[in-house]
């Protein structure tokens, strides 16, 4: 124990040198913590935008068209129908709700403006499936769907582009030169993880889009919401079985559809941001190692400077191990206190980052603990060689050293 206090006293005798030596560790720990926090913040942002889409969501897309043996990209076939969506809704116990949807691009006009946007044809239960809400007005129901009524619900962005500060409810817009009455405005949803602005869209009944604008009978996609996030896999299996049966796919044959879960995307995004975080931490660790080398350097100088002191201590009975512990304590204390200081500064930096930039950077408590511990171990490792050299000095030669 007294050897530890000897080491600490030696550091206090040279406060400036001690502070400057541990500065490398301070900066290293600081950057590890801050970069890890930024990485975790990025992960939180990605997960948040996936959460926006609904974690229970399954997306059924048609398979690829086989054109003279060559496969065109997935989702290009026209095999999914409204009846498929209906069957999924009714026959899959783990599916809570489902809606077919189809989209096209079109020019939309109001009395004074003109906007090129996406026209989404959807069934009346589209909003609950997407866990989306209306800002104002209403959504179309089964009646409008059955009669292919010309009604429209505007995305947040489209409403402001076409009508500015005016209230669009009850007014008309032109889609492909046909008038549509505006019955509702969607709440703002922001970007999808694929980078599409979900507020730049006009929603009309699916049947209206199919029969009056596109002249088709298929749907582009069926969105199905599972009863709960942990039943996504069951729901996916039920949909696969149901569609295999409905589309007469022989056993072992290649299905003409594909089912993707948003939780899969979430997993991938999660893994990617984990890799990003690790990469950032790795880069920051390099500065930690540089800090360790600084300690190694100063300790070597210190051992040389204090050779005579070591000789005196050995002459009056310090064993090699006593000398080793004394010097090891010095380097461990340098890196430990440097690590603590770096940890505190790191947390303060994260708090500053949060309040000034609004980045959702969490404080990585465990990471901080781990980094400070790691820095201390690093200090001990880098201090080992100088301490070992000190302990191996010959007492006689050390006493004569000038």
């Amino acid at each position: 124990m007294f050897l530890v206090s000897l080491g600490l006293k030696a550091l206090l005798r040279n406060p400036y040198r001690s502070i400057l030596t541990s500065l490398g560790i301070v900066i290293g720990v600081l950057s590890v913590i801050v970069l890890v926090s930024i990485g975790l913040g990025a992960k939180a942002l990605v997960l948040q935008s996936i959460q926006n889409l609904g974690p229970n969501l399954l997306v059924v897309i048609p398979g690829s068209v086989t054109d003279s043996g060559a496969q065109v990209g997935g989702g290009t076939d026209t095999t999914l129908t409204v009846e498929d969506a209906q069957a999924i809704r009714h026959d899959c116990p783990d599916v809570w709700n489902a809606s077919g949807a189809l989209r096209t691009a079109a020019q939309v006009q109001s009395a004074h403006a003109n906007w090129s946007t996406v026209i989404l044809g959807a069934e009346p239960n589209y909003l609950p499936v997407r866990d989306w809400h209306l800002a104002r007005g209403g959504f179309f129901g089964n009646e409008e769907e059955a009669s292919a009524a010309r009604v429209a619900v505007l995305g947040h962005l489209v409403a402001s582009r076409l009508f500015g500060l005016e209230d669009p409810l009850g007014k008309f817009i032109q889609i492909n030169h046909s008038p549509f009455r505006i019955i509702g405005i969607l709440s703002s949803k922001g970007q999808s993880p694929m980078g599409m602005n979900q507020d730049d869209m006009v929603v009309i009944p699916l049947s209206t889009l199919q029969s009056q604008i596109m002249g088709v009978t298929y749907v582009g996609v069926i969105l199905a919401a599972a009863q709960s996030p942990d039943r996504v896999d069951d729901a996916r299996r039920e949909i696969r079985d149901l569609l295999t049966l409905r589309h007469h796919i022989p056993a072992g044959g290649r299905p003409d559809f594909d089912i993707q879960a948003l939780s899969d995307i979430a997993k991938t995004a999660n893994r990617l941001s984990l890799i990003l975080t690790l990469l950032l931490a790795l880069i920051a660790s390099i500065s930690l190692i540089v800090g360790g080398i600084g300690i190694l350097n100063i300790m070597l100088v210190s051992v040389r400077e204090r050779t005579r002191e070591i000789g005196i201590r050995m002459a009056i009975g310090a064993r090699p191990i006593d000398i080793l512990i004394q010097f090891l304590t010095e380097s461990a204390a340098l890196s430990f206190f440097g690590g603590i200081a770096g940890g505190i500064l790191g947390i303060l930096s994260i708090l500053a980052l949060r309040s000034f930039l609004g980045w959702p950077a969490p404080i990585p408590w465990e990471g901080t603990l781990l980094t400070v511990t790691g820095a201390t171990i690093l200090g001990v490792l880098f201090g080992l060689y100088p301490a070992w050299r000190a302990s191996r000095l010959d007492p006689m030669e050390a006493l004569r050293y000038e």
């Binding site: 007294f2 005798r13 005579r308 002191e309 000789g311 005196i312 201590r313 050995m314 002459a315 009056i316 009975g317 310090a318 064993r319 090699p320 191990i321 006593d322 010959d394 007492p395 006689m396 006493l399």
Partner: protein, 231 residues
């Protein structure tokens, strides 16, 4: 600790040689010396500089190991012990006084005196008391918080003597203890050493080139070119 209640430690050097290897050249410092020092004896080793008398002292104090030959304490061979065991033995049984005092810089007088007890694992309060007692006995009781750089040569040597005596060693080795002192300090330091030796009846080996200093010892041995010159 068992050496503590003994009046002194007997030392025997048996046909020791010490050859230094300097830049590939072999420089013999001790060419073969056999010497017995009895318990409680006060022995002076005299000789000119380079005669090998200091080397002989260091070999006796286990600071160095002979190239050939053996060193015995109380008939126990000690030169072949490990560095760690020799350190423990030095701590328990040997006190050193050096020509240039060898106090630890930026450390107070009392901390210097405490140090041998520290390596013995004596608790702080006991350490402090014992060190204070020793500083008082060498007349440095009022200087315990002074750093070595704030003390005169004579004062530093007194602190060094207190440090050498604090662990009650059986063997006190003094290497030109008055060599760096003016004549008045030299006399008082020498008196201090002899008084301590008389009181504790420990074995004392005094290395000096000054024949007058040597007269305080009960036996004087001359060293010349690494050999004894019996007188």
């Amino acid at each position: 600790m068992q050496e503590d209640d003994r009046p002194g430690l007997s030392v025997r050097l048996d046909a020791v040689t010490k050859i230094y290897n300097v830049a590939g050249d072999e420089l013999p410092a001790i060419r073969g010396i056999t010497l017995s020092i009895a318990r409680g004896e006060a022995l002076a080793l005299v000789g000119s500089s380079g005669s090998g008398k200091s080397t002989l002292l260091h070999l006796s104090g286990l600071l160095d190991r002979p190239t050939t030959g053996a060193v015995y304490y109380e008939n126990r061979r000690v030169d072949s012990l490990s560095p760690s065991e020799r350190a423990t033995l030095r701590n328990r049984s040997v006190g050193f006084v050096f020509q240039n005092f060898q106090l630890i810089p930026r450390t107070t007088a009392i901390e210097n005196v405490e140090m041998p007890l520290l390596y013995r694992g004596i608790p702080p309060r006991e350490r402090r008391e014992k060190a204070r007692e020793l500083l008082l006995s060498v007349g440095m009781g009022d200087r315990e918080r002074h750093y070595s750089s704030q003390l005169s040569g004579g004062q530093q040597q007194r602190v060094a003597i207190a440090r050498a005596l604090v662990a009650s060693p059986g063997l006190l080795l003094a290497d030109e203890p008055t060599g760096n002192l003016d004549s008045r300090s030299a006399v008082s330091v020498l008196e201090l050493l002899m008084k301590a030796q008389e009181r504790t009846r420990m074995t004392l080996v005094l290395v000096t080139h000054d024949a007058e200093v040597a007269t305080v010892a009960s036996r004087t041995i001359r060293v010349r070119d690494g050999l004894l010159e019996q007188s």
